[in-house]
């Protein structure tokens, strides 16, 4: 039996789990409200006088910072708290299939939420003539960014039975990933550290890698960066889950 049917069965269950509980609806409504609010007020969407979604995408690293861990916090902590992890891992599936299935489900959920921002895309296309290639890159970048945050949340939720702890840990780690490349932080570092060090730290930031997408550039290095964050965090999830059981 190949791995894919198992991964998909687990992902399907997890995704349905979101929609069977209020989590999905609360998340989507709040996400759309906040995205609109930031875009039109702080992003000064109309005052820019340009047909682009730059004002929309530039808030994603900050908006996702709090919302994505809320989606990912229950992935493993809930399984551990309710004991269903024992059920899941004694089905004929490998831990990797379970980790991947659950991660994909939450990612797919974020993708659905992201897709529901389509009215804003319709709006710019109606008002002007935006470069839809740049917008597409922005969506791809946002999805990768959410994936990285989610993988981190997946990892922190494997660490604890407590969803709140899992949420806070995920926010802190993701904040670290953002801050590493945040201009005020890099400026502060530049005062006393060598340039190579500042660049090195900034290279770990999601911001520096997200920027390219905002400009419409699909750089393979940025894609590789997000893919490695996801891969690494999911790998650690596997190690943590095995660690719990090894005693």
């Amino acid at each position: 039996m190949s791995a894919w049917p198992n991964i998909w069965t687990i992902a399907k269950r997890e995704l349905r789990g979101y929609f069977d509980s209020p989590v999905a609806y609360v998340f989507i409504v709040i996400y759309l409200l906040l995205a609109g609010f930031f875009t039109f007020t702080f992003g000064a969407f109309f005052d820019r006088g340009e047909a682009s979604l730059g004002a929309f995408f530039m808030w994603m690293p900050w908006l996702f910072l709090f919302l994505v861990p809320a989606v990912g916090m229950r992935l493993w902590s809930e399984e551990r708290r309710s004991g269903t992890i024992e059920l899941l891992l004694t089905f004929p599936v490998t831990a990797w299939q379970a980790i991947l299935g659950k991660f994909l489900a939450s990612w797919l959920f974020i993708a659905i939420a992201l897709a529901l921002t389509f009215p804003i895309w319709v709006t710019v296309n109606w008002l002007g003539n935006p470069d839809n290639g740049v917008i597409f890159a922005g969506y791809v970048g946002s999805l990768l960014l959410a994936g990285a945050y989610l993988a981190v949340s997946c990892m922190t939720s494997a660490l604890t039975r407590n969803q709140v702890v899992s949420f806070i840990l995920a926010v802190v780690i993701c904040l670290g990933l953002v801050m590493a490349g945040f201009t005020p932080v890099t400026d502060l570092l530049a005062r006393w550290a060598a340039a190579w060090f500042v660049d090195g730290v900034a290279a770990f930031s999601v911001l520096s890698h997200f920027d390219g997408f905002l400009k419409g550039v699909l750089d393979s290095r940025d894609v590789v960066f997000f893919a490695s964050v996801i891969g690494y965090a999911l790998f650690v999830t596997g190690v943590v889950l095995r660690g719990h059981r090894a005693g």
């Binding site: 004991g83 004694t90 490998t94 005693g247």
Partner: protein
């Protein structure tokens, strides 16, 4: 079918399971007994591949759990302790999920679901969310999950916990019926369950096996096993006790109730002469004394006596030796 050899699990400095070895064949129902924290659940979790053992090995249907965990998991149906379920799912949704992970699709899946729904009497709650169900239904839903692929090996951690007497009876009947074709291990606190459903019982205490035999053999180990309960009318308790106590085959005589004119005594045989004839000897003695015998009853022994004597902290080391 299940081969457990020197299985050991340590959590840090604490050894939860210590060199446990046993085997279970097809057609056997093994009852797993022991006080809380004795290592029953840990042992079962290692057999199902959930916990990796610290040392020792488990082989299920010829596959080693460490080397080929998926082959083992495919052949096992497992009901974990306290029957965990995904609360927001419906019963049918959950069983479908379990069936799909067991590789059942289409017509096969439908048939399997139909079979377990019937076996566990879940037809009235199929479309209900799990967290709205009563404990009995929840438990049976989790049990249905363990049966969906008709496994050769069934492992159940306290399958009757939290069920009402009728449901307990049903589950026990189900276990006994399935036990004819499968290898089953289940743990329980309820000793009568062992007599009702098991072909063999293992008592485990502080991580080690202290007894492994049939329920009847275990009962025979009870001090009371073979003792005769005698109810007579007429003489005083002291007379009865003195007369019977002087018999050569009698170890001692205990007064159970003394409500003149009726006296009830329990007569224990000398261990070396534990035979069916003992009952006759006691009855004969009573006749010779010309007492009016109302009832003579040979006791089978009680599992809970055995359980207590084997797992009591102060006697457990002797019992193990």
């Amino acid at each position: 079918m299940i081969l457990v050899g020197n299985l050991t699990k340590a959590f840090g400095p604490k050894t939860a399971v210590n060199k446990v070895s046993f085997r279970v064949e097809r057609g056997e129902v093994l009852g797993f007994l022991g006080p809380n924290g004795a290592g029953k659940s840990t042992t079962m979790r290692m057999i199902t591949g959930y916990l990796p053992p610290t040392a020792g090995r488990v082989t299920v249907c010829g596959f080693d759990v460490g080397d080929q965990p998926l082959e083992v998991k495919r052949r096992i149906g497992y009901l974990p302790e306290s029957a965990p379920l995904y609360p927001e799912m419906t019963v049918l949704g959950f069983l479908g999920f379990a069936a799909e992970l067991r590789g059942l699709r289409g017509e096969e899946k439908k048939k399997a679901l139909h079979r377990v729904v019937e076996a566990c009497s879940l037809d009235t709650v199929l479309h209900q969310a799990v967290d709205t169900l009563s404990k009995g239904f929840r438990h049976r839903t989790c049990l249905a999950q363990a049966l969906v692929h008709d496994p050769e090996v069934l492992i159940m951690d306290e399958p009757t916990e939290g069920l009402d007497p009728n449901q307990k009876y049903e589950v026990r009947t189900l276990i006994r019926r399935m036990g004819e074709k499968k290898a089953i291990i289940f743990s329980t606190h309820i000793l009568e369950e062992v007599e009702a459903a098991c072909t063999r019982a293992i008592i485990i205490d502080r991580g080690a096996i202290v007894a492994n035999s049939t329920p009847a053999e275990l009962k025979a180990r009870s001090e009371r096993s073979g003792a005769v309960l005698l109810t007579v009318r007429g003489p005083t308790a002291a007379t009865v006790s003195a007369a019977l106590g002087s018999q050569p085959s009698v170890a001692r005589c205990e007064i159970v109730s003394d409500a003149p004119p009726q006296v009830v005594v329990r007569v224990y045989p000398e261990r070396s002469r534990l035979t069916a004839a003992f009952t006759a000897q006691v009855a004969d003695a009573a006749m010779r004394e010309d007492w009016l015998v109302e009832e003579v009853h040979t006791e089978e022994g009680r599992l809970d006596d055995v359980f207590r004597s084997l797992t009591r902290p102060d006697t457990a080391p002797e019992a193990a030796a």
